[in-house]
C-alpha cells in the first residue's frame, strides 16, 4: 500500500479558470491510496513547496503527485523539493493540467473531467514508482587527441592551455599532418610552415602535452569519463632520449626508401626525418629500406652515432592511458586516381596529383621549390583538372570543397615560378570562404585560362611525343578542345584515411557512405558523436579548409572540457536494466541500441546493459520479446497502469 499526496495548483487562475481545482482535490482525496489532497494558488512558490515538504514528513508520504503545469517546466523543481524532504526524487509524478487542459479548452466541465482522468492515471502510475538513484562516476581529467595534424595540434594546445593533461597520438614519425607538406596556403599565401611550426613547437614544449608519435591506438575500453586506451608504440630503432638530432646517421645511411612525405617523388634514407622542421626532431629507421634488416649487415648509423642512440633490438611496445574524453582528428587522404584510367596517372610521368605538386613548390621538397618535372624539364604549359573523382556518382558524390581554392593557388604559383601557360578545367569555381572570391579575381587577372568543362581524357600527343593532350569540351562555346600541355595536375577527391574503418570500430563511430565519421547532429552537434565522450574535428568529419578545421578543433576542445572539467559526473538514472531470469539471449537489444549500451555476456548467455552508455530511450525494452528489460521510470507496468487509469473514467 502506498501513501500518496496529491497537490493541485491553481497557477493564479491559469488553471482554476477552466478546471474546478477544489473539486479536483476532493476527487483525488477519494481515490485509493491517496492520503492527503490539497489545492493551492501557487504550488511552485516557496509556501507551496514548504506545504509539500511538511506534508511528506507529517503524513509519511511515499509518493507525491503535483497536478499543475507541464513536467517540462517544473518537474526538476519539485524533484528537488521532495528530495529535501527525504523522499527519493523519482517518487514524483507531474499531471499537466495547464498546457494540456486548462489552456486548450474554455469549457470548465470538459476541463475538469479531463483533469480527473489524467489525475486518476497518475495515481495508478504513482503506485508503481520505484526509488532511483542516479549513479555518480568520477571523471578522469586527461584527454586523448588522436591525429597530429593541424586539427589535433590545435585541440591539444587549447586543452593543455586550460591545465588539462593531453596525450597526442600521431601515426607518422612527426606531427604536422598534410598541412606541413604544403608550401603556401590560400587565400593569404602565407607560408604553411611559418604558421604551423610555431604551433608544432608549442606542442613539443608544452608541459601538459605528452607527444606520442609513431603510435597507433590499438584498443579502446571503458566509457565517457573513464576510457582505458591502449596505444601501440611502433619500434623506431632509435632511442629518442639519447639522440641529440645531430643527424650524422642520416648522411651515412646507404638504405634507399620511397619518401611517403614527398609523395614518392624522391627516395630518402632508411634512417630519416621526413622534413627539416619535423617535431620531434628525431629520426626513425624504416625496416623495409634498411640494409641491416634486409640483408643482415651494415649498421653504419650505429657506428657514427656518438650518443649510441641506435638500438636494433627495439620492438613494438604497448602503452596504456586512462582519459576522460577523446578527440578524433585523423584527417584525410587524397583518392588514388590510378583506377581513373582516362587521366593516365601512374602511366604518363607528366601527370601529377595535388599533394605531389605541393611538394614540388615546397622549398624543403624534392626539387627545393623549383618546378621541374620528373624528366627534369620546366613545363611550358600546365592543365589543372578539377573534380577528379569528386562530385561523381561513380566515385565520390561529395564536393571536396577546397580543391577549387588550392587549384587557384597552384595557378598563381605556376605563373609566379614559371613562364608556363596555365589552364584550369572546372565545372564551377567554389570560392565561398572569407577572402576567397577576391583571391579568385586576383588569379584571373594573372591571365590563367579558365575552361568551363570537365577534363575527360589525357593522352600522349601524337606529333609532340614528350607532351600530353588534355581533351574536354568548353561548354561555354560548345567547342571540343585539345590542350597540348607538358604537365597535368589532378585535384582528386578528399577521402577519409584508408584505415577509417578501424578507427570507427575502435571508437564506436558510425560513418557515412564515403567513410567520413558521423556527427551526432549535422547542424546542432557537429562535433559530438553517438559515443558519449568521443568528439571529432577536422576533415575526418567531412572535407573542409584550414580555418574551419581550426574552428572545429577549438569547438571539440571545448566540448571535451565539458566532460573533463568536472571531477564527478552524474549518469542518467532512468536507464534500462536486463532481468537475467527472463532474458532468452536473442540479442535484439544489442542489435538496435544506437549507443551500444547492451552487450551480450557470453558465459551467462544473457544480455547486460552498460548504464554509463544508456540514454534511457527505452527502445531495447520494446524490442525485447520476453519483456526482460526494465526501462526505469517508464517500466511496462507503469505505462500499462497509467493507461488503465486514464481509460477508467
Amino acid at each position: 500500500m502506498s501513501r500518496i499526496g496529491v497537490f493541485v495548483c491553481h497557477c493564479g487562475h491559469n488553471i482554476s479558470q477552466t478546471v474546478r481545482v477544489s473539486e479536483l482535490a476532493h476527487f483525488a482525496a477519494g481515490l485509493p491510496d491517496v492520503v492527503v489532497a490539497k489545492d493551492y494558488r501557487f504550488m511552485c512558490s516557496t509556501p507551496g513547496q514548504d506545504m509539500i515538504a511538511n506534508d511528506i514528513r507529517e503524513h509519511r508520504l511515499d509518493r507525491v503527485i503535483v497536478t499543475a503545469c507541464s513536467p517540462l517546466m517544473h518537474e526538476h523543481t519539485f524533484r528537488k523539493v521532495i528530495e529535501k524532504a527525504g523522499l527519493n526524487q523519482y517518487l514524483l509524478t507531474i499531471v499537466n493540467i495547464r498546457e494540456q487542459v486548462s489552456w486548450v479548452t474554455d469549457d470548465i466541465e470538459e476541463g475538469t473531467a479531463k483533469a480527473k482522468a489524467l489525475l486518476n492515471g497518475a495515481v495508478y502510475r504513482a503506485r508503481l514508482l520505484a526509488p532511483l538513484s542516479s549513479r555518480v562516476i568520477d571523471v578522469n581529467s586527461d584527454v586523448m587527441v588522436v591525429g597530429g595534424g593541424i586539427a589535433g595540434i590545435q585541440a591539444a594546445l587549447e586543452l593543455a592551455n586550460t591545465g588539462k593533461k593531453v596525450y597526442l597520438v600521431e601515426k607518422n614519425s612527426t606531427i604536422g599532418g598534410h598541412m606541413a607538406q604544403f608550401d603556401k596556403t590560400f587565400p593569404t599565401l602565407d607560408c604553411s610552415a611559418c604558421i604551423l611550426t610555431p604551433k608544432m613547437d608549442a606542442v613539443l614544449q608544452h608541459p601538459n602535452i605528452t607527444l606520442l608519435t609513431y603510435c597507433e591506438v590499438s584498443e579502446v575500453k571503458g566509457y565517457v569519463g573513464n576510457f582505458d586506451i591502449t596505444v601501440r608504440q611502433k619500434a623506431r630503432y632509435v632511442n629518442h632520449d639519447k639522440c641529440n638530432a645531430c643527424l650524422a646517421c642520416t648522411e651515412k645511411c646507404p638504405g634507399k626508401g620511397i619518401s611517403g612525405w614527398d609523395e614518392g617523388l624522391i627516395k630518402r634514407k632508411a634512417i630519416h626525418i621526413p622534413f627539416p622542421q619535423a617535431v620531434p626532431q628525431r629520426p626513425v629507421i624504416d625496416r623495409d629500406s634498411c640494409t641491416y634488416f634486409l640483408k643482415g649487415k651494415c649498421r653504419l648509423c650505429e657506428k657514427v652515432c656518438e650518443q649510441k642512440a641506435i638500438d636494433f633490438e627495439q620492438h613494438d611496445s604497448f602503452l596504456n592511458f586512462k582519459v576522460g574524453a577523446v578527440i578524433v582528428a585523423t584527417g584525410y587522404d587524397l583518392m588514388d586516381t590510378r583506377p581513373l584510367i582516362q587521366y593516365g596517372y601512374g602511366k604518363y610521368p607528366g601527370v601529377y596529383h595535388a599533394l605531389e605538386v605541393e611538394r614540388l613548390f615546397n622549398s624543403a621538397g624534392p626539387t627545393s621549390g623549383k618546378v621541374t618535372m620528373r624528366d627534369g624539364k620546366e613545363p611550358q604549359a600546365i592543365a589543372i583538372l578539377h573534380c577528379v573523382g569528386s562530385r561523381d556518382k561513380n566515385n565520390y558524390e561529395h564536393c571536396s570543397r577546397v580543391c577549387c581554392m588550392y587549384s587557384l593557388k597552384f595557378a598563381h604559383l605556376f605563373r609566379e615560378k614559371t613562364s608556363a601557360d596555365v589552364y584550369q578545367l572546372y565545372i564551377d569555381i567554389r570560392a565561398a570562404g572569407k577572402g576567397y572570391e577576391e583571391f579568385y579575381n586576383r588569379i584571373i587577372e594573372e591571365d590563367v585560362k579558365f575552361i568551363r568543362g570537365k577534363g575527360t581524357r589525357v593522352a600522349p600527343s601524337a606529333d609532340e611525343p614528350q607532351r600530353l593532350i588534355v581533351e574536354a569540351e568548353d561548354t561555354i562555346t560548345g567547342k571540343f578542345v585539345r590542350l597540348p600541355v607538358d604537365m597535368v595536375v589532378l585535384s582528386p577527391a578528399m577521402v577519409p584515411r584508408s584505415d577509417y574503418k578501424e578507427i570507427a570500430r575502435l571508437f564506436n563511430l558510425s560513418t557515412d557512405k564515403n567513410g567520413f565519421f558521423m556527427e551526432r547532429h549535422p547542424k546542432l552537434a557537429p562535433l559530438a558523436t553517438m559515443s558519449e565522450g568521443i568528439f571529432i574535428a577536422g576533415v575526418c568529419q567531412s572535407p573542409k579548409d584550414i580555418p574551419d578545421t581550426v574552428a572545429q578543433a577549438n569547438g571539440a576542445a571545448a566540448e571535451a572540457l565539458t566532460i573533463v572539467s568536472r571531477q564527478k559526473m552524474e549518469l542518467e538514472a532512468t536507464t534500462a536494466m536486463v532481468n537475467p531470469a527472463s532474458c532468452c539471449g536473442c540479442q535484439n537489444c544489442v542489435r538496435v541500441c544506437p549507443y551500444g549500451a547492451p552487450f551480450f555476456n557470453e558465459q551467462k548467455g544473457v544480455s547486460e546493459i552498460n548504464e554509463a552508455l544508456c540514454k534511457g530511450c527505452g527502445l531495447c525494452a520494446s524490442v525485447c520479446p520476453s519483456s526482460a528489460i526494465i526501462a526505469r521510470h517508464f517500466t511496462n507496468e507503469q505505462v500499462l497502469a497509467e493507461m488503465e487509469g486514464l481509460m477508467e473514467f
Binding site: 536473442c586 540479442q587 542489435r591 519483456s627 517500466t635 507496468e637
Partner: protein, 287 residues
C-alpha cells in the same frame, strides 16, 4: 523429381558418412513413429541410429526447432526441406547458430501430406517453395518447372471480406484457443524462454483461455513473428482446435515484404526487418 525413397537412401548415406567421420555428433532427421504415416523427429547420434532414419511424404516437422537443443555440439547436420532451410537462415541471421556449425542436407520435396488428414498439403497454405534456399549437400534433383503460385494468393478472399466479417471470423477462431501453446512449441522461430505471455511482471494478459487473453497472446505473437515467420504452416497443423494461424502469419509476412522489400529467411546477409530500419522507409506504411 527424385522420389521419397531415393531421398531417404541419400539421407542415410550422407548421415552415415558424417557420423562415421565424426564430422558431426548428431544428425537431425526423422524416424518411424507409431506407424508409417506418423514419423517423428529423430536425432541420430551413431552409425547404428542411421538405420532408423526414414523420410516420406509425412515428414513435415521443421527440424530447425531442435537446433537449440544441442548447444554444446560443435557442428550439427540437419535434414532441411525448403521451409526448414529458411528457418535455419533466420536462426543464423539472429545469431542463434553459425552457418559454419551446420551441415545442411537439402531436400527438394513436393507432394507432402498432412498425417492428420492424409491429404496432400495444399501448397497455398505453405511458403510455396520446393527447393531449399541454403544447403551444403542436395539429397535430390532440384524440382524445376512447378507452376509456382504466390504464397499470398490464398489471402485474397480474406482481404476482400469487410472488417466486421473478418473480425467475427478471427474472434470466433481465437476464442477456440485453449492456450495449450502447441503453436509456440511447433514454431522454429519461437525460441524465447520465458515467453512474454508466461510473465507476471507485467502480466500482459490473463492466463485463462478466454477471449481477451487469447487475443493479446495471438496478436502479440503475430507481431513477434513479423518478418521472421517462414510460412511453413507447422503452427496451424499443430493446433489441436484447428485455428488457421498460417493465414494471419501469411498476411503479416506479405505486408512486411511489401513494406520492407524482404522475405523472411531468403538471404543470409539480410537483417531481420524489425531490428533494422531504412531512412528511406516511406511514411505511407503508417497511413
Amino acid at each position: 523429381m527424385t522420389d521419397f525413397k531415393q531421398i531417404e537412401n541419400n539421407l542415410k548415406k550422407e548421415a552415415k558418412k558424417l557420423l562415421e567421420s565424426a564430422e558431426v555428433p548428431v544428425v537431425l532427421a526423422y524416424t518411424r513413429g507409431y506407424d508409417e504415416k506418423h514419423p517423428m523427429p529423430f536425432a541420430a547420434k551413431s552409425v547404428a541410429d542411421v538405420e532408423k532414419i526414414v523420410f516420406n511424404e509425412y515428414c513435415n516437422f521443421n527440424m530447425a526447432r531442435y537446433i537449440m537443443r544441442f548447444p554444446d555440439a560443435a557442428k550439427i547436420a540437419i535434414a532441411a526441406k525448403a521451409a526448414d532451410s529458411r528457418a535455419l537462415v533466420v536462426l543464423i541471421q539472429e545469431e542463434k547458430v553459425r552457418r559454419e556449425d551446420l551441415v545442411i542436407l537439402g531436400i527438394p520435396a513436393s507432394g507432402m501430406k498432412d498425417p492428420k488428414t492424409d491429404q496432400l498439403i495444399d501448397s497455398r497454405t505453405t511458403g510455396g517453395l520446393y527447393n531449399p534456399v541454403e544447403y551444403d549437400i542436395l539429397l535430390g534433383e532440384e524440382i524445376r518447372g512447378q507452376k509456382t503460385v504466390s504464397p499470398y494468393a490464398v489471402l485474397a478472399d480474406y482481404e476482400a471480406m469487410d472488417k466486421e466479417a473478418r473480425w467475427a471470423f478471427w474472434k470466433g477462431q481465437l476464442d477456440k484457443c485453449i492456450r495449450c501453446y502447441a503453436c509456440r512449441k511447433a514454431c522454429p522461430m519461437c525460441y524465447c524462454d520465458p515467453c512474454f505471455i508466461d510473465q507476471n511482471k507485467p502480466r500482459w494478459a490473463d492466463k485463462a483461455p478466454q477471449s481477451p487473453g487469447n487475443m493479446m497472446y495471438h496478436l502479440t505473437r503475430f507481431h513477434h513473428l513479423a518478418g521472421r515467420c517462414i510460412d511453413c504452416g507447422e503452427c496451424s497443423r499443430a493446433c489441436p482446435v484447428g485455428i488457421p494461424l498460417y493465414l494471419f502469419h501469411k498476411k503479416v509476412a506479405k505486408e512486411c515484404e511489401e513494406m520492407f522489400g524482404q522475405a523472411a529467411g531468403m538471404k543470409l546477409e539480410d537483417k531481420p526487418v524489425l531490428v533494422d530500419f531504412r531512412v528511406e522507409d516511406s511514411d505511407q506504411i503508417l497511413k
